[in-house]
Subunit: 351 residues, 4 copies
């Protein structure tokens, strides 16, 4: 099988780099083009990038000449790691030119005809693409990094008991702020109790993701959500304390833990290459999950849950951890592409 | 005026050291005796201690010979920084021998006749001492470090509107774990989502502190509380996100902010030497309070509040910061002693 | 006595903020004007600044309207915290207009007629000002933050034994990089083994500072120096391992430790308000000095030395710590101004 | 081929855990027995250990019952991660009982008949085993974590130009201190400029490792070494600044860089399973190597070098990074075992 050529928009930033790292050796996709701002365009990628990944930059990738982010790219499948300042217009432009754009940017997440996808949670929302009308291409979006962990964790609980209220407090890693991102003077030995725009994303995105597609549009889920977002001096891995109130009462902690451990989604059924064996892993030990220790579970694609216990104010409370640049960004985006390919959705955009 | 001689129990530990640092140059109290475990007893303090405070150890203190923690101490006022493994029995013993013990340990906090005091919040609970019967001496306790910030912050709100529910998630500094305390491998670039025993303290102590003394005993406040406690790589300053539901509804955010800024307690009225000008300080900027920047406000005795806003699940949510080893431990304990002196309670224990 | 009005150039940056913090309540100097880039000019300082100091911003300072960095300022004494991109020309301009500029920027440090001063080390170099010809005003410079610690530490040794070789490896705090400065992704749980331009400064500045003024110009000291500079995840305090080879051999470690402990400079003799009692403090304990614990000694103006021992390659090796934004920047600059005032040098520039 | 059964002594500590992690799926060795102190013996490993590795603990390993560290173990090949307090006697005991003990402990490193091995550097020192007389078994030792990086880095330079002087300053990760190891209060936002015993190890071990085996004993290399060791808030990866003086002068930087990049040792020639493709990797970028980014190169088995440049005091200076728990401990120990197997040395101890 010939690999599908992919292009990465915003390839020099930290999410762009993570796409490159995760696509290395991918069985279906091949990095064919790297596009970035005018400042980088024309240079070899190795000269344009300040590579901050932990694995060495592949020699072949190093020698790719960076292109500008304009239609004219040969790859029909584009992963967008564009900054939200430019992503809105550029992604529309590419979609109108027939490209399949799967984006990590926030700009199109709430467009009524754009799916906002966690493959294990709402793969059926991809049907919304039939309603999409960009003139040939399409846009699919990836939720915010802090949203993905919480929503994946409550998905099996929601299926069984109906989540009515969700209260989340996050402790988010600095890699979520990109590069150069959070200044060290702000975060070494410190906490920032505010991340601009983050709480709004966490209070709205889950409603769309957990909503129902009625053949025409997505009807938002009816969940009351409050989010409080903090930045902590951790490199990778967003830790979140969650409290939930259910419509139907579970019989106890074990029923929920079983639901977590047994949860499998479409990517597991389809055995997608980027799908972790288990999208959710429950850890029994009292002091888990911890971002530095557990965020790499399932190659960073498993969401890890711990400390599930009764709550005096809600029904249950627990701790959720997800790798914010893998499951929370590039990894989830690639998994969306794999899902689209396997479900036969991708083919039409590849011509 | 001759200064009152004080002894410090558990003087070599990190809280003991903080007592020494804060009592340096105190106008009323003079460090007269330092007591510690048998391992340190007999040594000069400077040789027995691994001094980890930021200010140099006073030469005079350095030369004090450490005593054992046994009655026989000449100082009648004792600040206890004892480990909870030994504090229970030892403090009882000292009280029975007529000493006034003000303790940072958890052991006696829930004894029905032992006051649990934040001077600005429940100074009237000191009347409980009249019911106490240790044969001459007394025990007064200091709340847990994570409790003090939250309770002080909600006190003026509770006075005005009646707090019905309190939901707290903490991000606690490593100095709260003592020395050697939290291993660096557990916390550098990491979060520990569990602190043994901490959530239980936070869910029960506020009920006693905010309770009513009816002349006989303290009637616990009726507040539903949930606490989730995390350790973060911060040196000093516990940050807490708090959500509250009131019995009576405030007219808006400003009414609460005014209540916070105008709050003064008994220590301010009595102009106690260790009282901060303002026990609560509200900061307007969007990303405050931060532990590294703001925990030293009011010499570590002011609790700092920020980000007060409406909440979709409770009525309001906000961020609280308090210096855990000053207001949350040694500083609050010393303020209790100052309060007892100024109210004429201390005199009887000094003979 | 009326206070001398001072202006701060580059007042909104992190060094500018440190000037404001240190000048609060200064007995001789009064912050009269704050100047910054066009972006901030015209705004109230409280609105223009992202205040990152640990003490609250003074209300009076908050309300000062920021001016542009152009002659027209009324204050004749200016502390420059300008970025090196603009400091060169601007400082010259101000000096030509008659101002006394004491600068933290690197630009004029090697001008042959500009003194590079550590008040305890080479106060006599201020005589160079008589050779300076900016048309009425003057420029005096402050050494680089990493230079000041090492040079102050070796000064008494150099006086007694003649330093022939100096080998330094630094572990520098992030506050030395300004704000936003070092990205958190680069330094949380990491080391950066390179600081652009830093090694060159450390290998050349000591030669001028320890040089002789022969009535005409400064003759560089003859010391062979090698510097290796690293950035570490520390907020304040540059730690440096130093190795020295002497012309004359000391009789042993104690002779050097005595020299360190007995060292006093002109600021101590003149009893300047910003002078620490001891410019150098030697700590005996095996694991000192440590930046988080000891960099505040002498209000951040004492350089702390420890672990002095024999070296198999040089004569002796030891560890030096200095507070990089106080002794290494704003504090040293203010001390220069105090020295100039007390020696009667400042008066002529104030008219 | 049947796998060789191995036992791990001190299996619950952090180095013990790293052995388990690295031996997972090993083609030649199979973890058969885990031994630890009396406190853990008799428990299932999963219950006895506080697992702090980043990958999940294997289910099979979890269920192994921990044994005491006494002869009676069936595995004839033992990896020792014993604490130095007990390693000396215990390892001797096992060797006398016929076991092949490859140890990470410091106790036997300077026994004249015990090889101290970095497989790429001095594999020929294994011949010393023929002189060893423990009554059937043997002891081979692994150098200290901070020694391995520096010695591997200078090995190809030493071969070509003869190292005469080596000056090293280390910035060592906290994982080198074991668990619980370094207290967080000592290292969060701080530097410890002292590691007990470390400098002595670094100043002596290289002499033995780089020495010549003359058929009878090892003649120490004649290199003058000075080491200064610091602990920094980094999880994994010791960074070291090194300065070297050569007997023969290289023609320039490039000759040394080529020597580094072309260096291959016995493990590469034998294609051992744990051997990295390149034991030394030179990085060109100005700010490399960095512990968080580069310590995993070659699966933690490559030593990474950067910033090689001329030095004003020695001939050249550069930065060395090595993964202290992989190449600096468990990984190197396993590589020694692989080397012994492939060279036919191991067989005689397996019966």
């Amino acid at each position: 099988m010939e690999k599908i050529k992919v292009g990465i928009l915003g390839a020099t930033g930290s999410v762009g780099q993570k796409f490159i790292e995760l696509l290395s050796g991918h069985p279906w996709f091949e990095i064919y083009e790297l596009a970035a701002s005018a400042k980088s365009a024309g240079k070899k990628y190795g000269d344009a990038v300040n590579w901050i990944m932990n694995s060495p930059l592949d020699e072949k990738i190093k020698n790719i000449t960076v292109k500008v982010c304009e239609p004219g790219l040969e790859s029909r499948l584009l992963f967008s790691a564009l900054d939200s300042k430019v992503a809105g217009e550029l992604e529309t432009y590419f979609a109108q030119e027939g490209y399949c754009v799967i984006s990590n940017a926030r700009n199109h997440r709430f467009d009524p005809d754009v799916p906002l996808i966690i493959p294990e949670v709402n793969s059926e929302h991809l049907e919304l693409l039939e309603k999409q009308n960009f003139g040939g291409g399409c846009i699919v979006t990836n939720p915010n990094c802090s949203t993905i962990g919480a929503v994946t964790a409550i998905k099996p609980m929601d299926d069984l008991f109906g989540v009515e209220e969700l209260n989340v407090v996050t402790m988010q890693a600095v890699s979520g702020g990109g590069y150069p991102g959070v200044p060290s003077l702000d975060i070494v030995g410190n906490i920032l109790p505010f991340i601009p725009g983050e709480e709004e994303k966490m209070e709205t995105e889950p409603l769309k993701i957990l909503g129902d597609f009625n053949g025409e549009k997505i009807i938002d889920a009816k969940i009351k959500i409050s989010a409080q977002c903090n930045r902590v001096p951790v490199i990778d891995g967003h830790t979140e304390t969650a409290q939930v109130k259910f419509k139907k009462k579970p019989r106890g902690v074990n029923e929920l833990i079983d639901a977590i451990n047994n949860f499998r989604g479409e990517p597991q059924k389809l055995n997608l290459p980027g799908a972790p064996e288990r999208p959710l892993i429950y850890l029994d030990q009292p002091n888990a999950p911890q971002p530095r220790i557990h965020s790499g579970y399932g190659n960073g694609m498993s969401v890890v849950v711990g400390r599930l216990r009764e709550c005096g104010l809600f029904d249950y409370k627990f701790v959720v951890l997800s790798h914010n640049t893998v499951r929370g960004a590039a990894g989830n985006t690639i998994l969306i592409a794999e899902l689209m390919k396997e479900k036969g959705i991708l083919a039409k955009y590849l011509k």
